[in-house]
């Protein structure tokens, strides 16, 4: 039974067409996957259905009636709930206050907190037992926040649940428990729309997929009828037959040690971390999420003033307690949360790329624009950043290209070690491969070393020469060569061996 159908939805932002022809169908009790590159219009379509945006043209038929929701509240009341990608949580309220936000229980004029707490607890216990509902949301990690977000959406028992990249922040065990809960909901007859950049998740949980490209849906595949073929899906997403691998290059690793870290300690996050990085090497950091990998990256980049360690770069002793130290020694960080930590979103590509230079010592009094523009052009070329001009604001670029800008900031520096902290987070399949290809080309060309942390094991397997597995702030294993495979990584991460 079809519960939702959209016909020819169109939406423009300013002059930019986000969705030009959105057609999709959802069935009762079925999970529909929504796939597409960043900026292909799948997020916008979901937001139109859930009433965040109103469509410029087209029709939405929900439960047999043509509907038009003015705001998310109307849609929520009608039975359409959405789990947002950019979280819709309020940091200063507690978990249970967030879950019931907008639909609080009342006793006369006043709030009935007891009932609200009970309801929230019942849902949270199913999704993530052990989460304290009295915690403030800003105290949670991103996985827990996502769970709260989902709990909020299913509180009102919707008929249609839209999950916009709910798994991006979750670790494997949480994803599995979310999937089992989604199956329970499907059995109850809830229709679901599920988006994710991880193909295997879509393959596992969805009954059919709809693929978006450039604001249109280009294909819908019913897994039961048409079978599951990942290559076909990827080719629909990118619009071209996709080469899925980048060549690994082992030859260029020299025996020369570029960075040596001895007994690095930071609070309870990092304990006695010791390793050596060779010139030209890509060293991976893996393990379960939140085992100190990000803290290690930040510590190396000089973010923590009270970190203790003996560090040597090219045989020279350095201190890691200041950002400026790290930068002047060529240890440069590409943060994963690019929008918050890596970019000035409202500013142009040019401004973003030259910005780190402005802080260097011995700068001319006035900014040498001509020289910088030339350099910036080179960077844009080298990474093939797709932008209409250097003066386009970064916010209008797609996720993959935004991340390239973050990498581009450092390209004109003397880089010894490039720290990549989950660079492909929230970047779609096609752009991810391209991004890595460009980074690796630069690594070869400039003979730098890379420390790569990725939450997705696939990326680590693909690109790393060596892989350190972290557990509770310690390095518990270093894998090399053929040992870098999925089974070994999972086994060592969970300390099965």
């Amino acid at each position: 039974m079809i519960i939702l159908e959209t016909i020819g939805i169109k939406k423009c932002f300013g002059g930019v067409v986000a969705v030009s022809n959105g057609n999709l169908k959802c069935q009762k009790g079925k999970i529909t996957g929504l796939l597409g590159a960043n900026g292909s219009g799948k997020s916008t379509s979901s937001k139109i259905i859930s009433g965040v945006y109103s469509a410029d043209a087209g029709e939405i038929i929900f439960n047999g009636k043509s509907v038009k929701y003015k705001n998310p509240n109307e849609a929520r009341k009608a039975g359409i709930a959405m789990v947002f990608q950019n979280l819709s949580l309020v940091g200063d309220l507690t978990v249970w206050q967030n879950i019931v936000l907008g639909v609080e229980d009342k006793k006369g004029l006043f709030l009935n907190n007891e009932i609200s707490k009970e309801k929230s607890k019942a849902i949270v216990d199913q999704l993530l037992p052990g989460l304290d509902i009295n915690k403030k949301v800003y105290e949670l990690n991103s996985g827990e926040m996502q769970i709260v977000e989902i709990a909020k959406a299913i509180l009102e028992e919707p008929k249609l649940l839209i999950l916009d990249e709910p798994t991006a922040a979750l670790e494997l065990a949480q994803v599995k428990s979310l999937f089992s809960y989604m199956r329970i909901l499907a059995k109850k007859g809830v229709a679901m729309i599920f988006t994710s950049h991880r193909l295997w998740e879509v393959m596992e949980i969805c009954d059919d997929v709809i693929i978006f490209r450039n604001g249109e849906n280009v294909a819908s595949i019913d897994f039961n009828k048409d079978g599951k073929d990942p290559k076909k899906i990827v080719s629909y997403i990118t619009g071209e037959a996709q080469k899925l691998k980048v060549e690994k290059n082992h030859n260029e690793i020299t025996e020369e040690t570029i960075l040596s870290i001895k007994s690095l300690n930071y609070g309870k996050f990092l304990k006695d971390v010791t390793f050596k990085l060779k010139k030209g090497e890509i060293l991976g950091i893996g393990g379960l999420t939140g085992q100190g990998q990000l803290e290690l990256m930040l510590a190396l980049a000089g973010n923590y003033p009270d970190v203790r360690c003996d560090a040597e770069i090219n045989g020279k002793k350095i201190k890691l307690n200041k950002l400026a130290n790290a930068i002047s020694n060529g240890i440069l960080l590409v943060p994963g949360d690019k929008q918050r930590e890596g970019l000035f979103l409202n500013h142009s590509v040019f401004t973003n790329i030259i910005f780190p230079k402005l802080g260097l010592k011995h700068q001319p009094l006035f900014i040498p624009y001509k020289k910088y523009r030339k350099e910036c052009e080179q960077v844009v070329d080298a990474l093939s950043i797709k932008t209409s001009s250097m003066d386009t604001p970064v916010s209008s670029l797609s996720g993959g290209n935004q991340q390239k800008v973050v990498v581009g900031k450092w390209l004109s520096f003397d880089t010894n070690v490039l720290l990549l902290a989950d660079p492909a987070k929230g970047v779609d399949v096609g752009a991810k491969i391209e991004l890595y290809q460009h980074i690796i080309n630069q690594v070869k060309e400039k003979k730098m070393s890379v420390i790569l942390y990725a939450s997705d094991n696939e990326e680590l397997i693909e690109y790393c020469d060596r892989l350190m597995i972290m557990y509770e702030g310690k390095i518990v294993a270093t894998l090399e060569g053929d040992d870098i495979n999925d089974d070994t990584i999972i086994a060592t991460s969970m300390r099965i061996r």
Binding site: V52, P72, S88, L89, G91, G102, G143, K152
Partner: protein, 345 residues
């Protein structure tokens, strides 16, 4: 006490210590001690009443301001709103006719609500940055006040004194007079304000004020009418200002278009001292009261410590900055302690 319950109470105590409220309380205690040392008769009933009366307008303004700031706004016009309301009250009242006092209260109340609505439309619906919106409206209120009362003055009904000193009202019932000497009217107004906020904070509106101030977009997609909530916060603020206006007219029996203006920045500073984040969503309205007390004690200390007249303003500025820095310097330490408590990603 067994081991586990001790651990629980320990962590509850620690949690309190790490809250910014804790530093605010410590500063209050320090200020209190200094004032008590300087002012010889600090603990005498008369001087306590006098102190409460001196502090009341700032406390009320600060609490109202706190509500707006928590909702993510800022109200620069509260000072001139206060002036306007005193002018409205004294404009309507005629000395000989006690009933005009009732009219005045009703009309001033309506004006207060109207002021809140207009500020709210600017901030919430038109999305003008609060600083600019209320800076602009502050001149409207000032202009209106000057129109009603170009020079300080006007008249007030006799029973209006009860908002300041019940004893001063000639034919007040005896039990009211006794009551008034035990609990000064200023204190009653402050308690009234607290109760008012307590009731609001138990309703959806109270919860939503925090939600909207903390993250406007998130609140919106949760189905909250954010513009309406911001307007409500402005109206609540206006009602606090209304209470302050009653007190002021009770005290002076006259209106003054210029009296409120200087108070407003002091009130905003007091909310910050009280641990309320100017970014919104954080803090407690009751601690705004503590912030106002701290700033009030600063003036007391200056007054009693025989600082030469010429330096008084300068010194009070220094003390205020030290007080604010005291609460803020504490924050990083407290953050570090929090980090050790939880895992960050």
């Amino acid at each position: 006490m067994n081991k586990s319950s001790k651990a629980v109470s320990d962590s509850a105590f620690n949690k309190f210590i790490y809250k910014p409220e804790f530093s605010t309380l410590i500063i209050l205690i320090i200020m209190l001690i200094i004032t008590a040392i300087l002012q010889k008769n600090f603990f005498e009933a008369k001087s306590i009443v006098r102190n409460i009366n001196a502090f009341t307008p700032l406390i009320l303004l600060t609490m109202g301001q706190a509500v707006v700031i928590i909702s993510g706004g800022l109200d620069l016009s509260a000072g001139t709103t206060l002036s306007l309301l005193t002018c409205v009250l004294t404009f309507v009242m005629e000395k000989g006719e006690p009933v005009t006092g009732v009219y005045a209260i009703i009309i001033a109340f309506a004006v207060a609500v109207l002021v809140g609505v207009i500020n709210g439309i600017g901030i919430g619906y038109l999305r003008v940055p609060p600083l600019i919106a209320t800076f602009a409206t502050s001149f409207i209120w000032l202009g209106a006040a000057l129109f009603l009362r170009p020079t300080p003055g006007g008249e007030s009904v006799e029973w209006f004194k009860m908002f300041y000193n019940i004893d001063g009202v000639k034919n007040a019932p005896h039990f009211l007079k006794t009551f008034g000497t035990i609990v000064p009217p200023g204190l009653i107004l402050v308690i009234l304000g607290c109760v008012f906020w307590f009731v609001i904070s138990k309703t959806k509106t109270g919860r939503y004020i925090y939600a909207v101030g903390s993250n406007n977009d998130s609140a919106y997609v949760s189905g909250i009418n954010t513009a309406k909530i911001q307007m409500t916060a402005c109206i609540i603020n206006s009602l606090f200002v209304f209470l302050a206006a009653l007190f002021f007219v009770g005290q002076n029996q006259s209106g003054d278009a210029r009296m409120g203006g200087p108070l407003i920045l002091k009130a905003i500073a007091a909310t910050v001292v009280g641990g309320i984040a100017l970014t919104g969503g954080k803090g407690s309205v009751y601690f705004a009261l503590v912030g106002a007390l701290i700033l009030s004690f600063v003036s007391k200390i200056i007054f009693f410590s025989n600082v030469p007249n010429a330096y008084q303003t300068l010194v009070s500025g220094l003390i205020v900055i030290i007080a604010i820095a005291g609460t803020q310097v504490y924050a990083p330490y407290n953050k570090r302690a929090m980090i050790n408590e939880r895992q960050i990603i």
